[in-house]
């Protein structure tokens, strides 16, 4: 399966989705003006992956900031991951970033996927 690899920019996150090497990670800042457009390839990739997923998947979110329009798309990403067997979310945040920790807890209340939290 093709690897999705997007370099991070000042307003978009770095994204690596690599089935073969078992790397699934969204990191950095997400504040694009058009979040729907930006996350479209991510959602498409996940829809494809869902057809033949690895037995276990650990999907890592390591976000520094995200805007509210990204938050809806992050929920869309999580909803797309929800139906995949063996899915687990690793939600990373900076140790003193209570808002990001809280954001992870809120997302976890909106989808049925196990969340693990890691303070860096």
């Amino acid at each position: 399966m093709e690897i999705l690899n997007l370099e991070g920019t000042a307003d978009t996150p770095k994204i690596i989705l690599d089935k073969g090497n078992k790397i699934f990670e969204i990191s950095g800042r997400s504040l694009p003006e058009d979040s729907a457009e930006f996350y479209k390839p991510v959602l498409e990739w996940i829809a494809n992956y869902a057809k033949q997923p690895n037995p276990a998947t650990e999907f890592v979110f390591k976000l520094e900031y995200f805007n509210t329009s990204s938050s809806k798309l992050i929920l869309d990403v999580l909803s797309a991951l929800e139906d995949i067997e063996g899915m687990k979310i690793e939600w990373c945040y900076m140790e003193d970033d209570e808002d990001m920790e809280e954001a992870g807890k809120e997302f976890s209340e909106l989808v049925e996927i196990p969340f693990e939290y890691r303070a860096n």
Binding site: S69, S71, L75, D96
Partner: protein, 184 residues
């Protein structure tokens, strides 16, 4: 030329650390964020406070960008908006002003009043409700940005509508971020 000095004095008196007036795009948003970040970085502000300021700035700036099209339909030449940050002893204030159509005031007012009537848990529930039930294409996202600003601020949003003409009013918004964390 005196207005240069007057403006300088006015900004100093109001502890304005950054101000931008003009047209707003995603590119201006990025530039303003970069400037503000550098400013906060050099002031050595606590990282939690910096992130809150950054978050509120993003929402305020993107609100202006999102709604600037509405104003451009008008012909009065008052398209430009304003964005500023002030830094007083005890708090930062992120302020914005942009023209909005008078017909949109009741909806916006309703959303802001609802937000200000809610406590911390109420805002959390409202945030979850909106994020679950709206699609991204809905312009303004049903006020999600304002809910987020209110949550990050922890204080009531301050706002006013200044009438410009029959069609437009100037929507002013002020969001405060306390410098010292509450010790609950």
């Amino acid at each position: 030329m005196k207005f240069i000095y007057d403006l300088h004095q006015l900004m100093a008196a109001n502890k304005v650390i950054l101000i931008y007036e003009g047209d707003f795009t995603q590119e201006t948003t990025k530039s303003i964020l970069t400037m503000a970040e550098r400013n906060l970085e050099s002031s050595g502000e606590e990282s939690g406070i910096k992130k809150k300021i950054f978050n509120v700035m993003v929402e305020a700036l993107q609100n202006i960008v999102k709604h600037s099209d509405d104003a451009k339909e008008g012909e009065n030449g008052h398209h430009a908006a304003i964005f500023l940050i002030s830094h007083a002893q005890s708090q930062y204030s992120i302020m914005s002003g942009n023209p909005i159509k008078n017909e949109n005031i009741p909806n916006l007012k309703g959303a802001l009043e609802r937000i200000n009537s809610l406590d911390k848990d109420g805002l959390k529930e409202l945030y979850k409700e909106i994020i679950k039930n709206t699609t991204i294409s809905e312009k303004g996202g049903a006020g999600l940005g304002f809910v987020d600003m209110a949550r990050k601020s922890g204080e009531k949003l301050e706002w006013s509508f200044v009438p410009m003409n029959d069609e437009f009013s100037f929507f002013c918004l002020k969001v405060n971020i306390a410098r010292v964390k509450e010790t609950v």
